[in-house]
Assembly symmetry: C2
Homo-oligomer: 343 residues x 2
DNA sequence: TCAAAAAATGTAAGCGCTTACATTGACTTT
DNA sequence: AAAGTCAATGTAAGCGCTTACATTTTTTGA
């Protein structure tokens, strides 16, 4: 307790202010219960000592942490980084702190993080997508921790969510592709396993093909984790095919960026030789050359709304799932297929 | 305590295993102190009850949190997102959790977050850059919280850091610019106030000009926060000048991307009419058209090393600041100035 | 003016852990 | 066989807060 790094406690403040610890606690948590005079006394003691409450003690005693956890696949993807940034800002407004963990798209890691965050007493959890072991949902229910699913929206579940329906979101895009005359379609997707968003996008494409009288099984599908390099590799595989597709639709913009890059390296004209589309509309999309045709997703808004919803859920309020709308962004990488121009 | 959402405590485990709470605690924290038999008993009780320690109680009692805090300007910038992702992964390996806060480049917010994170008992703090009120450093010292500065490296301070010297990092780039014959140079920087990294880059440029016999005051400097739009606006201002520069050097790649975009919109050829350079070498850089000449920074490695260093600092080990090296990436956006080709 | 109600404050029992210290046996030594 | 070691475990005192309940003070109303 040398004067140099002495950390004051509630009791120190109480002594200095000449009141009980309960009063100090009240002064900090519900000031209106105190008389003006006492409040002033306490406040100046707080200021003088530079007191800051010990968070752990606070949480332990009050049984709430004012902390929410978010488990995202990776921060190293603009869409999550951006959404999380907004999420965190709004959380700050609500007086809550964020703890982030990333699962690297691995269910086992996700489970582990969920347990850790729960042990830390997270008041609520933000999860990405629906797909996970029911065991996890049971655990959450058992622990009574509210959780919000983001980046996805489904109606056939009681899990609250904020996001969009991926199947529906990709629909205008695939319909445009088909309308332009494409019949030889490829899709570069993230691995569909454990990833409902990726899966729903593919399903959306297949359904539209069916509706248009095309054989959904004719879709050339490649699954590969999101990254520029993987996008390049997948694209290369596609154009090496006997009968290369006239359009390479991509599960997200990062993959699409890889495809564009590879096309350039191979001196294949986009979109004249082959069209390319993305999903997400990150900055990259409008910076690419030509600009990427993609589906715009309101990541920032989603993060903000997620924070508000989770805040309410933590306060035991009933919250309805919220569907956000996405928007087709037609830009330069999509045109009619090479074989049937002017068809 | 209904069977449904009953959360077991240490005491419950102890009772079930027929031992004292101390034994259970030891079993979890230093198992080798126990006899094989007891350990087994305890472990199975733990498993049976699905026990997980309450983090807050743990921290309160043990006076350490196994948590580190990071305060970054924004997650919404690939460099920090990437660095942080690596930081967090490595932290996970060390059994520590990360709490992130973002300051939005505002010193007041940074201070506030530092206080919050300290109150939460963060065992250590990751900070970006050196520039901050001495009051903050005093606070940290007083509270005895180890802190590591990243994304910068300076020798004339006792604050431990991991990063690179921004002045030095930009040197090969500006020297190349000058060597190519550019004499009318512009620099689009982030606001230099409270941002040593931005400032050092400008200083580096000025110093090189001086060394080359150019007047450093002739540097056309624009300060604007990092964003594509701001890059565009700044670039527009530059080319509207009576005597537009032959090269627009940018404080980072995001600004540079904006500049390239604007150049395209104005149909000004890059690099023939005007050269553009960036800093950071984010994915964008090699995706742009033409590819951006920039300075490569090892963000991922920095994040990882930062975690290791901070881990050691928390364990009271002495740690030396570490300098990382950057590398010039000459690509397509830089060439000789229009006025003096073949000079 | 005085009892009753309301407001302000104090008392003290935890919250779920860790850990210094005490205790208990089982083994060594001599 | 007594004394000393040492490993394994138990006891219990906190860690710094919150909050139910008790107590005191002030306000109110008739």
């Amino acid at each position: 307790m040398s004067q140099s790094n002495f950390i004051p406690t509630l009791a120190d403040v109480a002594k200095k202010a000449g009141v009980s610890t309960a009063t100090v606690s009240r002064c900090l948590n519900s000031p209106d219960q105190l008389s003006q005079a006492t409040r002033k006394k306490v406040m100046s003691a707080v200021a003088e000592l530079g007191y800051a409450p010990n968070f752990n003690a606070q949480s332990l005693a009050a049984r709430r942490t004012n902390t929410v956890g978010a488990i995202i696949p990776t921060m190293d993807n603009a869409i999550f980084a951006r959404g999380l940034q907004a999420f965190q800002e709004e959380l700050g407004n609500l007086g809550k702190t964020l703890i982030v963990a990333s699962s690297s798209y691995r269910p086992d890691l996700e489970l582990e993080h969920i347990k850790t965050l729960t042990a830390r007493g997270a008041d609520g959890l933000l999860l990405i997508g629906y797909d996970r072991n029911p065991e996890i949902y049971n655990f959450l229910k058992q622990r009574d921790v509210p959780s919000l699913v983001a980046w996805a929206y489904q109606t056939d579940t009681d899990q609250t969510s904020v996001g969009f329906n991926n199947e529906k979101a990709i629909r205008p895009l695939i319909e445009e592709v088909i309308a332009l005359g494409h019949r030889n379609i490829a899709f570069i997707s993230a691995p569909k396993k454990n990833n409902d968003r990726a899966r729903d996008r593919v399903t959306g494409v297949r359904m539209a093909m069916q509706r248009a009288g095309l054989d959904p099984r004719s879709l050339k599908l490649i699954e590969t984790p999101y990254s520029i390099e993987n996008g390049q590799a997948a694209f290369q595989k596609l154009v090496a095919l006997d009968c290369p597709p006239t359009v390479a639709m991509c599960g997200n913009d990062v993959l699409a960026a890889g495809a564009i890059k590879q096309a350039k390296e191979m001196a294949l004209s986009v979109p004249d030789y082959i069209s390319i589309t993305g999903f997400d509309d990150i900055e990259l999309a409008s910076l690419a050359e030509p600009q990427l045709t993609t589906v715009h997703v309101p990541h920032k808004a989603m993060g903000k709304i997620a924070a508000q919803m989770l805040g309410k859920m933590i306060d035991q309020q009933i919250v309805e799932s919220q569907e956000l709308s996405t928007e087709l962004r037609l830009r330069g990488t999509l045109t009619t297929p090479r074989a049937c121009k002017l068809k």
